[in-house]
């Protein structure tokens, strides 16, 4: 593992960011529009429907943290797709750059992009809607980490499928997180879901993150149980995602797909 090769891939994506407005839109525009829209909804719900402030905090916290998770997993997939679209894979993987170095670099770039979105949303939520995520940040950080590792797993799984089956599956990069959203208890507690969906929801680290976040916002303190479940599941999902990627990458190399992929 060489730091300069990781830097090289980071540099490639920094240049892309400089030239490609879509990245700026994903990083800044969508999070800002999202939090503004949800912010107005919470004002309406508070003023007209008398919704309690604890619920409003949960809603806005859900919006901010889901945006972080969604953006991270989307950008992991899209980062790889950029190489597929531009047929850059051939030069990249005939160089000394290893797959692990490439993935590390993607994580670095997308983590920074996701955190920029998080800070922007949090600042807007604070200034415009008086929702302050920052006092609880210390207790949120472990749950944010759980979300990011799961986002990484999902990003790697999507990338694996693109490596093996090509860009016809590129839509997964934008849509896959949406499938998980209803079962991740982003805006409502686990108890809201019908009992038969609980095992599915509890198998997702996202559920434990949002349950934990809600407990913090409700003043119930840090939920060690949710954190431990989230971490355990993350370890399993990250390991499975890496295994899948290695298998798909080797399969693609064996079938000559890195050459033909577009």
């Amino acid at each position: 593992m060489r730091l300069y090769r990781i830097e090289a891939v980071v540099l490639r994506h920094v240049y892309e960011l400089r030239h490609n407005g879509n990245h700026l839109i994903n990083m800044v525009y969508f999070p800002v529009v999202n939090i503004i829209m949800w912010g107005f909804l919470t004002i309406y719900l508070t003023d007209r429907q008398g919704l309690q402030s604890g619920l409003i905090s949960s809603l806005l916290g859900g919006v901010v943290l889901w945006g972080l998770f969604y953006g991270f997993q989307r950008d992991m997939g899209q980062g790889f797709l950029e190489e597929v679209w531009t047929r850059n894979l051939i030069s990249l993987f005939s160089s000394p750059l290893s797959v692990a170095e490439y993935i590390y670099a993607l994580v670095c770039v997308n983590l920074i992009k996701a955190l920029i979105g998080l800070v922007l949303e949090s600042v807007i939520a604070l200034l415009c809607y008086h929702f302050n995520i920052f006092p609880s940040l210390i207790e949120f950080v472990p749950f944010i980490a759980v979300l990011m590792f799961f986002g990484f797993s999902i990003g790697v799984v999507i990338t694996s499928l693109i490596v093996r089956y090509g860009s016809k599956l590129e839509g997964l990069a934008w849509s896959f997180a949406g499938v998980l959203m209803p079962f991740s208890c982003v805006f409502y507690p686990l108890s809201t879901l019908p009992a038969f969906l609980h095992p599915l929801a509890l198998a997702l680290p996202t559920t434990h993150s949002f349950e934990g976040m809600r407990q913090v916002l409700a003043g119930g303190g840090f939920s060690m149980v949710d954190f431990q479940w989230g971490v355990t599941q993350d370890i399993a999902y990250v390991a499975l995602a890496i295994l899948l990627f290695r298998r798909m990458f080797e399969s693609a190399r064996s079938q000559g797909l890195l050459i033909k992929m577009d």
Partner: protein, 256 residues
């Protein structure tokens, strides 16, 4: 120094690659010695590019082995790929990045010392300095092919794998590229393995050629040796164009 004293840079043994039922490369063996320019030639579908892609680690062989610098790509990938480089006109680069940015990224990947000076030198050598700040998407095919060549020379490779390097170039630039390759061989002893359909170019450049058809080696040797072997005639001058047409017709007839 006789041939046995010259180190073997590329050693291919019984290499076979199948895609489903299709046998793209069939039991191919050959060696490339240090400082040699060797041409891998044959009609479309002969397996030339597949061999180059296997040597550059992009495709795994089905059967057989190869070593580069006496080492296996399976176990010493990073060290081997640091010492070689590869390009093909079919290789592309991130289209929104400028020529200079693309080369800066690859210079970092190959850990090139004083990369600014190296990039400037290569842009000059391949006559694309005027487009250094243009995005790749706005270049012609010939200019993009030359960016590929700049990338291939960034790390001063000991082994160059070139897949049809002059196919999109106009005759003058193609001539200059050939001169650069010959100069590299003379001045640095760079080993070059390349594929081409331009038989005049192969004849002029290559110490030896490996002629392929249907994935198999048909003939190997110097251009004159291959000419005599394939055409089964006494010739005083190499005639690879004739050899090519002879083999291509045979391949076509076998397919019909």
């Amino acid at each position: 120094m006789n041939a046995s004293d010259v180190p073997i840079v590329v050693d291919v043994r019984n290499l076979t690659k199948t895609f489903g039922k299709f046998r793209a490369v069939d039991d191919v063996s050959f060696s490339v010695y240090e400082g040699e320019i060797i041409g891998l030639v044959g009609p479309n579908g002969a397996g030339k590019s597949t061999i180059v892609h296997m040597l550059s680690g992009l495709i795994t062989p089905s059967v057989g082995t190869f070593s580069l610098f006496g080492k296996s790509l399976d176990t010493e990938r990073e060290q081997i790929l640091q010492r070689l480089n590869f390009t093909s006109p079919y290789v592309a680069f991130p289209a929104r990045l400028t020529v200079r940015e693309n080369l800066a990224v690859y210079a970092r990947i190959y850990n090139v010392r004083d990369s600014r000076a190296k990039i400037a030198e290569l842009l000059d050598r391949f006559d694309i300095k005027k487009v250094e700040n243009k995005p790749i998407s706005r270049l012609s095919s010939g200019e993009t092919a030359r960016v590929g060549l700049c990338k291939a020379f960034l790390n001063d490779p000991e082994l160059l794998l070139l897949d049809e390097p002059t196919v999109y170039l106009d005759p003058l630039i193609a001539l200059e590229v050939r001169d650069v390759l010959l100069d590299l061989k003379r001045s640095r002893g760079t080993t070059i393995l390349y594929t081409s359909h331009n038989m005049a170019e192969v004849q002029r450049m290559c110490d030896r050629v490996v002629f392929l058809s249907h994935g198999r080696v048909i003939a190997t040797g110097s251009p004159i040796e291959v000419t005599r072997a394939v055409l089964s005639e006494r010739r005083d001058e190499p005639a690879l164009e004739e050899v090519f047409i002879h083999i291509a017709r045979r391949q076509r007839d076998a397919t019909l």
